[in-house]
């Protein structure tokens, strides 16, 4: 029997902004790249996002945020991931994350940060290249 692994991605909207056009475009692009994309819907707490990632056993979490609360919410999410043992999940982020905040985000472990104007192909390629291999 052959192994039929698929890349599973959670697209999550943390915090209180209610604009998910970007998140949906990304979800669609990843779907068309052959991935299984789970979307949480709007206004998710860090607990909801991490618990969903755990239940869905995703390989990648994509966080979309426009509210400016990334400096509060992203550390909470990364901490919860650590607590639950989900340290081998690739976390990427998009939306409005000012240039000066990027180093801080990278220090948290969110290395792939994609602002407005990023081509979807770039994100897809990043995921394929950086996704943790499962043994």
């Amino acid at each position: 029997m052959q192994n039929q692994r698929k890349i599973r991605v959670l697209i999550a909207k943390p915090g209180l902004d209610s604009h998910d056009r970007g998140a949906k475009i990304i979800a669609r692009a990843l779907r068309d790249a052959g991935m299984e994309v789970i979307y949480t819907g709007l206004k998710q707490t860090p607990e909801q996002i991490v618990e969903t990632a755990l239940q869905e056993d995703v390989d990648v979490i994509g966080l979309s945020i426009l509210s400016g609360a990334h400096k509060t919410l992203f550390p909470m999410i990364m901490e919860l991931l650590k607590q639950k043992g989900l340290t081998d999940v690739l976390v990427v982020a998009g939306g409005i994350i000012p240039e000066e905040d990027v180093p801080e985000m990278k220090k948290l472990g969110i290395k792939g940060i994609f602002g407005p104007g990023t081509r979807t192909n770039e994100i897809i390629q990043y995921i394929f290249e950086n996704i943790p291999k499962r043994t």
Partner: protein
């Protein structure tokens, strides 16, 4: 590298109700990884306690929203719930957008609830190939109720009967007239009919259409499927639905369980044999490099697929005897 725990560790975790282990177990089954069988073998003796409920119906009839309310009702009664929500895989790209849990997301942090989205991976019949065994994982993990939401089903997506004990078929007013109700398929597999969005006009008409259809049944059935109304958005009618689901389970235990369980066991065995035999023949063809040859015969219309299959099977049996 992502190192995965050993399969026996995962199995032990599942039986202890550990959420990470449950998630990993379902992935293992979905990916049809070589260890999946070992996993299923370890958990199988611990299955059979949960009430497995199938919920099916056309796209947009409100399945996910109703499940959200059903879970809440069971939680109020102190029951734990597992959900497998199936959505279609794109036949073109192999990708999928799994959006069912959006409607249940408030429950995602409830430790008594486990929700898993699942893509069909092009399996036909309204569920995924892994759905049945994923339900067993949730069952063996101690969930009292396991709900399987099929893809938005048309008329012939009836694979759910191989998974669930109680099948709820959901409709919404205005999706079809009495002619639809006479058709075979999902109309025949229902143990309980639900007309959702009952706050809309025509809800009573839909109920009547279904009831009229049921009266046309020539066979006298021991269980008469009730026709209920719900409004999933407000939760109206959900507690009555739960009651009837409970009634159906009692009925199964009393009258029917053994027959249906036997039928399900037979179907599962037949399917497992098919898969094992098919795989072993296909693998052999591939290693011998004869797959192309057989395909060419079909393409050139020299031989039909069934005849080739018969020949291959005979050949395989002879080989076994010689050994």
């Amino acid at each position: 590298m992502r190192t995965l725990p050993k399969i026996q560790e995962i199995a032990r975790g599942v039986l202890a109700g550990d959420r990470r282990s449950i998630a990993r177990a379902i992935t293992t089954i979905e990916n049809n990884s070589p260890k999946a069988q070992e996993l299923i073998a370890s958990i199988f003796p611990h299955t059979g306690k949960a009430h497995i409920i199938g919920l099916t119906g056309p796209p947009g009839s409100g399945k996910s929203t109703l499940i959200d309310k059903i879970i809440r009702e069971y939680r109020r009664k102190g029951k734990t719930v597992g959900v497998i929500a199936v959505d279609p895989t794109s036949p073109f790209t192999g990708g999928a957008f799994l959006g069912d849990r959006i409607r249940m997301q408030e429950l995602s942090t409830d430790q008594g609830v486990f929700i898993r989205s699942m893509a069909t991976r092009n399996y036909l019949g309204g569920i995924a190939k892994a759905t049945k065994n994923a339900a067993k994982v949730l069952d063996s993990a101690g969930k009292d109720v396991v709900i399987v939401e099929t893809v938005g089903a048309g008329q012939s997506e009836v694979e759910i009967i191989k998974v669930a004990q109680t099948i709820v078929v959901l409709f919404a007013p205005g999706l079809g007239d009495e002619i639809q109700a006479i058709k075979a398929g999902i109309m025949e597999i229902a143990d309980i009919f639900v007309v959702n969005k009952a706050d809309r006009a025509n809800a009573d008409k839909a109920v009547m259409d279904i009831q009229a259809m049921l009266q046309l049944n020539s066979k006298e059935r021991m269980w008469k499927p009730p026709v209920l109304k719900t409004t999933a958005l407000t939760g109206e009618g959900v507690s009555q639905l739960i009651e009837r689901i409970g009634d159906h389970r009692l009925f199964l235990e009393k009258e029917f369980e053994r027959k249906r369980s036997r039928e399900k066991a037979e179907a599962e065995l037949v399917e497992a044999i098919k898969e094992k035999v098919a795989n072993s023949i296909i693998e052999e063809l591939k290693t011998e490099g004869k797959l192309e040859e057989s395909l060419q015969k079909i393409l050139e219309k020299k031989m039909d697929p069934a005849s080739i299959a018969e020949k291959l099977l005979n050949k395989k049996f002879k080989k076994q005897v010689q050994k």
